[in-house]
Amino acid sequence: MIQFSSVAKRYEGGLEALRGVSVEIAAGEMVAVTGHSGAGKSTLLKLAAGIERASSGTVVVHGQNLGALGETALAILRRRIGFVFQDHKLLFDRNAFDNVALPLRVTGCAGDEIGRRVRAAMDKVGLLARERAMPVALSGGEQQRLCIARAIVNRPSILIADEPTGNLDADYAKAILDLFQSFHRVGVTVLMSTHDEASVARLGCRRVALASGAVAP
């Protein structure tokens, strides 16, 4: 489903975030990417989601070599991947409903279909009652769940989450991880980064450890 072969990523200014990373994630698998801050976790996830491009090596997602895709094809591929951002990336000028509806509006989905899908996604993350709330009125955990609802509203086969439990207390973090496990159970490929080793152990999923931009043994 997702295949990294000798992938390196250098940013402008010379920072080398990833070096010779080769990882394969099978369809329906749940994988946690662990490592310290600056280990390259976020970069790996962004490359898998087609948000950034590798400097060298190949990233293949859904059978497509992302490096060979043009900007438009890459954008269309992103529609099939749900991404939960570390900083949520919510739009504060519109309510919860419209934030979740954004990916559907982008694809030209019909109005009644948008309503159904958005409510289904918000119900799944337990925010159905708050669809008219503005993001600024939501708690950190609610904003996180809103971001998850936006990531799953297109019913993606791949869900990628960057530090989804980063700033949450233990109970909240557990609820979010349970949510991801429920997506995994219905066949969604889940790739997430975390520095919380205890949670990974509890989930019992495969773990890819990164250290200084390379896969640690």
């Binding site: 950034e52 954008a75 990336k89 739009l91 954004l102 990916p103 982008v106 030209g108 019909a110």
Partner: protein
């Protein structure tokens, strides 16, 4: 097809919503654009008005030949033949003294005065259009014609109108240049205003791209926004220019007495008004395209 239509409908609705949710900002933008567009439109109106005055002026080179008061119809015929035989004359028009008197009565308020006179004070006259404006050749023709018997006066008084014609031509060139420069200014103002809006929507553009919006998806609502804003500003500019022209027209009428009736403000015809709205909409579209293009390139750059 349905999806494509829906995307465009959404984009248009989005653009209108953007205009409506910030009524004051939208109004100011449209007013700024409208004022900028009004300037070249007014220049065009001035151009057209001056052109209409110019075309009503006699600027062709011609010479008036007045006969003595005692010249008979027979003399007139003989002189007419002589004038026509001159190689410099292209056409010769005879104005009989009775015709001249009738015209003078009809076009001035002197009818009563003229009636009180014994007989007709006006002579027979010829208007001769000449091929040349060369002073030497004209002088030769004038000399030859004034030596003809029963010719009283030969007046070549077109020089002033010719000079005026040249000034009007210069004015036209000047106004055209101003209109072009102002038109270019409008394009930049539109681009800049839309760029400001695009920058303020930078986050939305970024998030849309993250969740799978293509460059055209991002561009679409902004293009509709630019288009609508441009068209509204164009319509407002036509309205503004119409108001200014109407007011100037009234001022001009109060200023010029009725003998200068040809001095009036000539407003643009409907086709031109539509063209102004169309051009303004196109400028809005182009400005939006340019502004969004910059943001899109920045996103693509960041992904490298």
């Amino acid at each position: 097809m349905m999806t494509w239509l829906r995307l465009h409908r959404h984009a248009l609705a989005d653009a209108l919503r953007r205009l409506a949710t910030q009524p004051l900002a939208s109004l100011f933008s449209i007013v700024v654009l409208a004022v900028a567009i009004t300037l070249p439109v007014l220049a065009a109106i001035a151009l057209q008005s001056v052109g209409s005055v110019a075309s009503s002026l006699e600027t062709d080179p011609h010479v008036n030949v007045f006969l003595t008061l005692d010249a008979t119809d027979e003399d007139a015929r003989r002189i007419g033949d002589a004038l026509r035989s001159n190689p410099e004359a292209t056409s010769v028009k005879f104005v009989s003294r009775t015709q001249a008197l009738a015209e003078l009565k009809a076009t001035t308020h002197l009818a009563e005065l003229l009636d009180s006179l014994n007989g007709n004070p006006l002579p027979h006259a010829f208007t001769v259009r000449v091929r040349t404006t060369d002073a030497k050749k004209l002088d030769e023709a004038r000399d030859a014609w004034s030596r003809l018997p029963k010719v009283d006066q030969v007046a070549a008084d077109f020089e002033w109108s010719e000079r005026l014609g040249k000034w009007i031509h210069f004015g036209n060139t000047l106004l055209t240049t101003i209109a072009v420069v102002l038109g270019a200014a409008v394009a930049f103002i539109v681009g800049h205003l839309i760029r400001l809006q695009v920058v303020s929507q930078g986050q939305e553009i970024e998030v849309s791209q993250l969740v799978g919006a293509t460059a055209s998806d991002v561009r679409r609502p902004f293009l509709y926004h630019g288009l609508t804003q441009g068209a509204l500003a164009g319509a407002a500019a036509v309205g503004l220019a119409a108001g200014v022209s109407l007011w100037l027209g009234l001022q001009l009428r109060a200023l010029t007495p009725n003998y200068a009736a040809e001095m009036k403000v000539v407003f643009l015809d409907p086709a031109w008004c539509l063209a102004v709205v169309g051009i303004a909409a196109a400028l809005g579209l182009a400005g939006a395209w340019w502004a969004v293009g910059r943001e899109l390139r920045q996103f693509a750059q960041a992904a490298r």
